[in-house]
Subunit: 358 residues, 2 copies
DNA sequence: GCTCGAGATCGAACCGGTTCGATCAAGAAC
DNA sequence: GTTCTTGATCGAACCGGTTCGATCTCGAGC
C-alpha cells in the first residue's frame, strides 16, 4: 500500500500536523524539522492522496467542460475541437488542475448532467460552450453558485448567474475583417452566408459585416444575407435557392468552414468558379479549408488560445472565491461585472479569395 | 451548506450507519426505516458528496484518457476525435463514471503525467491511445498496477503490464477490404500509401493489403507500397517522388483521409485524375473525405463505437479487481489473457473510387 | 532568577461518507 | 419461561488529508 502522511510523520518522529505543515511549505516549521519530514517522505516514496486532500479542503481541482454535440460545426470542423481542448488542458495543467469532459446531446441533457455533477460536488468550476438564450441549465447554476466561464458571448443579462465571465473572439471584428479583405480586392457585392441567429457569434458577425460595408461606403443589401444551419448540406441548398433569382454578387463570406464547402458545391453546380467568378472567404481555419480544392481562405479563430484563456479566466475566478460575500466594495464591483477576454482573429489568405495560388 | 448524511440521519431519527445503508439500498434495513430515511433525504435535498464517497471506498469513478497530440491525424481528421470522445463519454455515463482528459505532447510527457496522476490516485483506470513499442510510461503503469485499456494494438508482449486489454479495428481487415473493393472494380495495380510502421495499425493494414492481393491472385509489388507521415504535405511529396520513375498503377489505397488528400494533390499535379486515371480509397470517413472534390471513398472505422467499447472494457476490468490476487485458476487465466474487442469497419463508396457520383 | 512572548510542535477535531462488530428486540423452539 | 436465532439498528473506527487551539520550549528583557 501507498504511504500515508501518518507513515511519514512516524518515520520523521513528528506529529501528523507538523508533517502536513512541513510538506506543504508552511512557514511555521523549523528548517531542521522540515528536512527530516521531507527526507522521510522521500524514503517512503510518499505522495499525497488527492481525494483526501479534496475532502479536507473542499477543492476538487477539477474543471468540468460541457460540449453539446449539437454544435455540429465544432465536431465536423477538422481540428477545431482538438485544439480547443489542447489549450484548455495546457492552462489547467499549469495550475495543477484537471479537466473532466462532458459531451451532451442537448442543453436539456446538459442541465441534467450539470445538476448531478454539482450536487455531488465533483468540480470547482464549469466551462460552457456557446450558450443560447436562457438555457435550461440556468437554475442549476444558480442553485450551486459555482464559478462558470462561457465560451462565446451569452445573450441577455443573466440575472441569475452573477457574474458572467466569458471568452470569445471579437466576432464583430471577424465579420468586419472578412468584408474589409474582400472589399480591398475590389469586390462591391459581397454576400454573407451566416448561421442561425440563436448563436451570438452569428449575430455579431452580421453586425461586423454591416459595419465593414459601411466603412467602405458599400450599400447593405438584405438579399445578399443568407442564413443556413451549420451543415454542408443545408448551406448547399440555401445558396442554391438564394441564387435562383439570378443575384449579382462577386464575393462570399461564409461563417464556417463547412458552410463554405457547401456554398462552393452550389456555386460549382451553377457553373461559377472560385475565385474567378466568386471570391470565397470562410471562418474557421481547419484542415477542411486548408486542403480543399481550391484552398479556402479562412479567418483563424485561434482555438487553442480560446481554450487556454477560458481556463485561465475560470481559475482566476476560483482564486477570488465568494465574490458576493466580499465586503470590500471594490472587490464586489470587480466581482459583479463579468470579466471578458477577447481572443484576436487572423485572416489566412488562400486561392479561394484570389490571393494566393497556395 | 449542503445537507450531509448526518443531517439526514438526525432528521430521520436513525443512526448515520443506518442512514447510509438505507440510502444505498442495502438489504439489512426494514422497509419502514428505509422510507423514513429516504423521506428525510428528499426533504433536505440531500445528495451524497462524491469526494467523501471516493475517500471512503477508494474508488474515484474517474477514467483518465491520454491523447498524444503527436497523433496529428487524430486531430486533423475532421470529427474523428470528437466522435471517439462521444462514445467514451456515453459508456462512462451509463455506469456513473467520469472522463478526465489529458492531452500530451509526447509519450515522455504522458509518462510524466501518468505518474503524477497515479501517485495522487485520481483515477481508477486509464485509456491510452496508439501505444508505440515499449513506451516510456510502462514503468509507471507497472508501479501502480492500475487497469489499462489501449486504443490500438500494443506491440510485443508487455510483460510488465498484465493483462493488456485493447480495443481496435481489425486493421488487417481494413487493408483487405480496401484491396478487395478496388480489385472488384477491375484494378490490378493497386498502390498503398501507408503510415509509419511504429503504428501497429499501419503494420496490420499492410498485412491486410498483401492478403487481399493474394486472395485475388494479384502479385505483390514492393514498388507500389509507399510510406509517409500522416500529414498532407508529406503524403504529397512521397507520392510525387514515388511516381517520378513513371510507375504503372490504376488505384491507390491511403491509410488516412489526410494522406489521401495529399496523394490527390500530387496526382493532380501530374495530370492524373480520380477516379478516371487512378481510383482512390481512403481510411477514415470524415468531413474531409465526404466534402472533398471529388468526394473520397473511405473506410469508416466507427470511432464512436471504438470509444464506447474501450470504456466498457475498462469498466469491466474494474469490476474484477486484483486479478493477480485471485486464487481461482479460472479467474486468473481469464485475467492473465488480455481481452480484445474488435470493432468492425465499413466501406463508404464515393466518386473517388469510381463508385458513385455523390 | 523570573516573567513574558514568540515560534515550534502537538493532539484532536473535522471533511462526509462506508463498514464492521456489538447490541438489542422479537419470534421460534424446547 | 428460558434459550437460541435472526434481522434491525447503532456506535465507533476508518479513509487520508488539513486546521485550529493548546502546550511546550527557549531566548530576550528586566
Amino acid at each position: 500500500m501507498a504511504a500515508t502522511i501518518r507513515d511519514v510523520a512516524r518515520r520523521a518522529g513528528v506529529s501528523v500536523s507538523t508533517a502536513s505543515l512541513a510538506l506543504n511549505g508552511k512557514p511555521l516549521v523549523s528548517p531542521k524539522t522540515r528536512q527530516k519530514v521531507l527526507q522521510a517522505a522521500r524514503e517512503l516514496n510518499y505522495h499525497p492522496n488527492a481525494v483526501a486532500k479534496s475532502l479536507a479542503d473542499g477543492r476538487t481541482r477539477t474543471l468540468a467542460l460541457f460540449i453539446p454535440v449539437t454544435l455540429e460545426h465544432l465536431f465536423s470542423s477538422a481540428g477545431f475541437f482538438g485544439r480547443l481542448l489542447q489549450g484548455m488542458h495546457r492552462a489547467a495543467l499549469e495550475r495543477g488542475h484537471h479537466l473532466s469532459l462532458h459531451i451532451v446531446e442537448s442543453e436539456e441533457e446538459a442541465a441534467e448532467q450539470i445538476r448531478t455533477l454539482l450536487r455531488s460536488r465533483r468540480a470547482d468550476g464549469l466551462i460552457l460552450t456557446n450558450p443560447t438564450v436562457d438555457p435550461p441549465y440556468l437554475p442549476a447554476l444558480k442553485e450551486a453558485e459555482i464559478p462558470v466561464v462561457f465560451l462565446g458571448r451569452p445573450l441577455g443579462d443573466w440575472p441569475h448567474v452573477n457574474p458572467v465571465d466569458h471568452v470569445d473572439n471579437d466576432n464583430v471584428e471577424v465579420g468586419r475583417l472578412g468584408v474589409q479583405h474582400l472589399a480591398e480586392k475590389g469586390h462591391e457585392r459581397i454576400a454573407l452566408l451566416n448561421g442561425p441567429s440563436r448563436f451570438t457569434f452569428c449575430l455579431d458577425r452580421l453586425e461586423g459585416y454591416r459595419q465593414g460595408l459601411r466603412e467602405r461606403g458599400l450599400p447593405y443589401d438584405e438579399a445578399l444575407v443568407w442564413t443556413s444551419d451549420m451543415t454542408e448540406e443545408h448551406a448547399y441548398t440555401t445558396v442554391l435557392s438564394a441564387l435562383e433569382g439570378g443575384l449579382e454578387f462577386t464575393a462570399l463570406l461564409a461563417t464556417s468552414d463547412i458552410q463554405a464547402v457547401g456554398a462552393l458545391r452550389a456555386l460549382r453546380e451553377l457553373g461559377l468558379r472560385a475565385p474567378d467568378d466568386v471570391a470565397v472567404l470562410a471562418v474557421n481555419n481547419t484542415a477542411l479549408t486548408r486542403y480543399y480544392v481550391p484552398p479556402i481562405a479562412a479567418i483563424d479563430l485561434h482555438e487553442e488560445r480560446l481554450g487556454y484563456e477560458a481556463v485561465q479566466l475560470l481559475l482566476r475566478r476560483l482564486s477570488f472565491p465568494d465574490p458576493s460575500c466580499s465586503n470590500d466594495p471594490n472587490d464586489a464591483r470587480k466581482a459583479r461585472t463579468g470579466k471578458h477576454v477577447r481572443v484576436p482573429c487572423t485572416l489566412v489568405p488562400r486561392a479561394s479569395c484570389g490571393c494566393s495560388s497556395v
